[in-house]
């Protein structure tokens, strides 16, 4: 059934030695359970007994969780793959070649990429289901789905947290980034495969932690975790902090790995001038991640200490505003971490679909870089309602001018599409829709950057509509474009154009009707975090919910379509889009190695003025470069 393919160092083992072993995921769960019980009990019964000896206390659950996550990682394969070799005991880790390789620790970047993609789809479905519950609740002005506002607010928090940290930051970067970047730069491996393998398994742990938070209790802050409310909240908030720790640690490892891969694993001839646009997106995002993820980890550590010990850092005898500052210092770059990969994708895919050279490539790169730089200077525009007047002007200034480098992405695309021969495939359609949606998101961002307007619409549904336009509108739509564009690469099969287009139009209409009305709801006086609202807002809320549910169904259908085509789609050649980028110059799906001989790059990837390939022809075989 399964053959022993390779061990972790890439060599075939000299002996085949099979030890009976549980499936790694099962072993990981069991070890996690044991570790949790041991460490939780150690704290709650032995070292830190609380009055009335509850079995699970905030302190014990924190320590138990850390032990459980470590044990989970070890069980899934990190024990044999990383820990034992690090201490001098290299071990055989059998990697099957069939579907089971996706359910264990792996160092193959293609396996890791798909694992990330599945994890982020799982997070999307779970958080999307939470959103459906929220919109269902909001169809009526009274509580009718949830029995109390705290339960609704916990759902809001789970929705936001899982979406931001396991879909927004992971879907394009951890998923598509891990799979494609080594292929795009002409390498067979990523820079740090063992770390990459560890990072993946933190994502299910993080998602599960946040989703399980109601087991500990409610938490009412939403994904921002504002203090002092957070230190007052029931215990559910502990799993919010811990889940985000796991997810951000994962993304930090991805950032290091992708940066080092792009810098050190490039094929000969792939100069800085020829780095693919998607890779530039990954570089800028990784730099942002490197600086700001540890920042939020520190902020959340302080919040966790405020919830567990509890240290009164951010209570009214401390400084609540300090929490807001440290949160938003991360929180603003975070949204650019989410959307910059989408900008890069627009510039990556459209030259191929239009079979026309990328226009003003340097300005596209400058745009990505300056968005990255400016994103760290605007955070307090989330705090216009609680700062002093004199601080408003500089933050408003930087927020407004960030629209300039953002516009460069549009400049590049418009110039590329002018006089092109644009094939209106599903990826094209989704990217154009994404650009339209982000335009609305961006324009409402300019409105929000004006402090006087901001002081009216802050903390209302106007803001909710704005950030869903930028996040769903730009990132999620581009995420789907990436699925359709690279499906032939992952599977060697093509999707159905008819279904792809119909479903895309479906989600476009549902999305716009639902969220455009949300702007109006905000202007009409609807505040955030309310399962119960004045009656005059109910008719529009009902409609928004209707279209939001249609949107949810549309997303599910998209994934069902992609899943169906993954296994049953018609087979296509290895480069159906006639792209010149490197990942398409090898077999689809890639064989055992991405490239049997590492290609030599001789010209840029986005020059469609002639038919010449960007790589030198492989002189060692008759077949064109790539494995069969």
């Amino acid at each position: 059934m399964s053959s022993i393919a390779t061990d972790l160092l890439g060599d075939s083992p000299s002996q085949t030695h099979r030890r009976p072993m549980l499936p790694p995921v099962v072993r990981g769960l069991i070890w996690a359970l044991i570790a949790f019980l041991v460490f939780n009990t150690l704290i709650s019964e032995v070292l830190d007994r609380m009055p009335y000896h509850p079995f699970v206390t905030r302190a014990s659950v924190t320590v138990g969780w850390v032990a459980a996550v470590c044990a989970w990682l070890l069980g899934v394969g990190v024990w044999e793959g990383v820990v034992k070799p690090s201490f001098g005991f290299p071990t055989l880790w059998e990697t099957p070649t069939d579907w089971r390789k996706y359910f264990m620790y792996s160092t193959d970047h293609r396996v890791i990429g798909l694992q990330y993609i599945f994890s982020s789809i799982g997070g999307f479905m779970i958080a999307g289901f939470a959103a459906m519950l929220m919109r269902l609740e909001l169809m009526n002005q009274n509580l009718w789905v949830f029995s109390n506002p705290g339960a609704y607010l916990s759902t809001v928090g789970i929705h936001g947290t899982v979406m931001m940290f396991s879909v927004g930051t992971v879907g394009l970067v951890g998923g598509f980034g891990n799979y494609l970047i080594p292929l795009m730069v002409g390498s067979n491996k990523s820079a740090f495969p063992r770390m990459s393998g560890i990072s993946q398994w933190l994502v299910p742990a993080g998602i599960a932690t946040v989703v399980l938070s109601p087991v500990l209790g409610q938490w009412t802050t939403g994904w921002r975790g504002y203090e002092p409310l957070a230190s007052q909240d029931p215990a559910g908030i502990v799993f919010y902090y811990l889940g985000v720790f796991a997810l951000t640690t994962s993304s930090l490892m991805v950032a290091i790995n992708l940066t080092a891969t792009i810098l050190f694993k490039r094929a000969p001839g792939l100069t800085w001038n020829r780095i693919p646009m998607f890779a530039w997106g990954m570089l800028t995002v990784s730099l942002l991640n490197l600086i700001w993820l540890p920042e939020i980890q520190m902020a959340f550590l302080l919040g966790l200490l405020g919830a567990v010990i509890p240290f009164p850092f951010f209570t009214q005898v401390g400084s609540p505003l300090t929490y807001l500052e440290v949160f938003w210092l991360f929180g603003h770059p975070e949204v650019y971490i989410v959307v910059v990969p989408a900008f890069a994708l627009w510039q990556e895919i459209l030259p191929v679909m239009g079979q026309k050279s990328l226009f003003a490539r340097q300005w596209g790169i400058i745009g990505l870089v300056f968005v990255m730089i400016l994103s760290g200077m605007v955070w307090a525009h989330h705090m216009f309602t609680n700062m002093s007047n004199s601080q408003m002007l500089p933050f408003s200034f930087f927020t407004e001018i960030i629209s300039i480098p953002t516009g460069f992405a549009y400049l590049v695309v418009i110039g590329t599409l002018w006089k092109a021969r644009l094939r209106l495939t599903t990826p094209t359609l989704l990217i154009l829709m994404s650009m339209f949606n982000f335009l609305i998101g961006g324009v409402t961002g300019v409105l929000l950057a004006d402090p006087v307007v901001n002081l009216q619409v802050h903390d209302s549904f106007f803001v909710v509509a704005h950030f869903h336009y930028t996040i769903i509108g730009a990132m999620i739509f581009s995420w789907f474009a990436a699925f359709y564009y690279w499906l032939p690469k992952f599977t060697g099969r093509m999707y159905s154009e008819r279904w792809g287009k119909v479903l895309s139009v479906w989600i476009f209409i549902a999305f716009n009707v639902a969220f455009l009305q949300m702007f109006l709801l905000g202007l009409h006086g609807m505040n955030r975090w309310v399962p119960v609202y004045p009656a005059y807002l109910q008719p529009m809320n009902f409609q928004v919910s209707l279209f939001a549910i249609l949107l949810g169904i549309g997303f599910v259908l998209h994934f069902l379509h992609i899943a169906w085509m993954w296994w049953h789609g018609p087979r296509v050649e290895e480069n159906p889009w006639r792209s010149k980028t490197l990942e398409w110059q090898t077999a689809s799906p890639p064989g055992e190695e991405n490239f049997t001989t590492i290609p030599t790059v001789v010209r840029g990837f986005y020059d469609y003025s002639d038919d010449r390939s960007a790589v030198a022809v492989d002189v060692h075989s008759d077949a064109p470069k790539g494995a069969r």
């Binding site: 005898v317 599409l417 006089k419 092109a420 402090p451 006639r578």
Partner: protein, 269 residues
């Protein structure tokens, strides 16, 4: 050439239609219902930005559609485009110049200008005749106190907080977040947000800080006339957050005096 002309025509027509739409909206009410000068200022800033951005939005949307329709591939064969260029100095320069200029202009007006107006409105010398309302936010209730009239907690006959204000007057709201009924617990306060949707501005209330909001009422109205004339908490403050509301009544100066007297009597009993 023909394409540039064709696009320009489509763009101008779309911009014109867009401007018509925006001015129709501005003649109505972007903020749905306003009851203060600050709301009018905010509304006009909002409308100005929309009006200025219509040509920009029209440019992008028409460009995307034009490219999608006019330059689409015909036939099933994947064919390279015959026209290929890597850059166009004029286009890029004009684009960058316009985006920089529009941004700077926006910063001057309405951003800085409206802010300056707001700052000026808060100058002490313009606020000597203000009605002072002490607003206390606690979980999960608003408490209104009128220090100039010795009204410690304004309430209706059922004991629920209610806020009466005179029309055509500047009100200085003094905002605090603490629990006057549980002062023994220093950790009890959370962040709340004070917002009357019809007044056009809000402020967050941070426990441990006193913050100020200046509103100049400009019409007689109340929660019974329009539900946007209510105090609504806008910063999540726990499970009671959605219920943290209070009705507002803006009345004539004489009616306001009558209400003050009735409150003082209610307080004595």
């Amino acid at each position: 050439m023909a394409d540039i002309v064709g696009f320009a025509v489509a763009w101008i027509v779309t911009s014109a239609l867009g401007e018509l739409g925006v001015s129709a909206v501005r003649r109505g009410s972007i903020y749905y219902y306003t009851a203060s000068n600050q709301a009018l200022d905010g509304e006009s800033a909002f409308g100005f930005i929309l009006m200025m951005l219509v040509p920009v939005v029209a440019f992008i949307v028409v460009m995307l559609l034009y490219n999608m329709i006019r330059f689409r591939a015909r036939g099933k064969e994947i064919v390279r485009s015959h026209v290929q260029f890597y850059t166009n100095k004029t286009f890029v320069t004009v684009w960058i110049a316009i985006s920089v200029v529009v941004n700077l202009l926006f910063y001057l007006h309405p951003t800085a200008s409206a802010l300056e107006q707001m700052f000026n409105g808060e100058e002490a010398r313009y606020n000597r005749q203000d009605l002072i309302v002490n607003v206390t936010a606690r979980q999960w209730q608003w408490l209104f106190n009128y220090p100039q009239y010795n009204i410690t907690q304004a309430a209706d006959a059922n004991g629920n907080s209610v806020m009466f204000l005179p029309a055509d007057r500047t009100i200085k709201f003094v905002l605090r977040s603490y629990d006057p009924f549980h002062t023994y617990d220093a950790n009890a306060g959370v962040i709340h947000g004070f917002w009357v949707p019809a007044f056009g501005l809000k402020q967050d209330i941070i426990p441990g800080e006193t913050r100020y909001l200046y509103i100049h009422t400009n019409k007689i109205t109340s929660y019974d006339v329009n539900p946007m004339v209510r105090v609504q908490c806008t910063e999540v403050c726990g499970p009671g957050h959605p219920f943290m509301e209070a009705p507002v009544h803006v009345v004539s100066a004489r009616d306001f005096q009558k209400w003050i007297v009735s409150q003082q009597k209610q307080q004595q009993s």
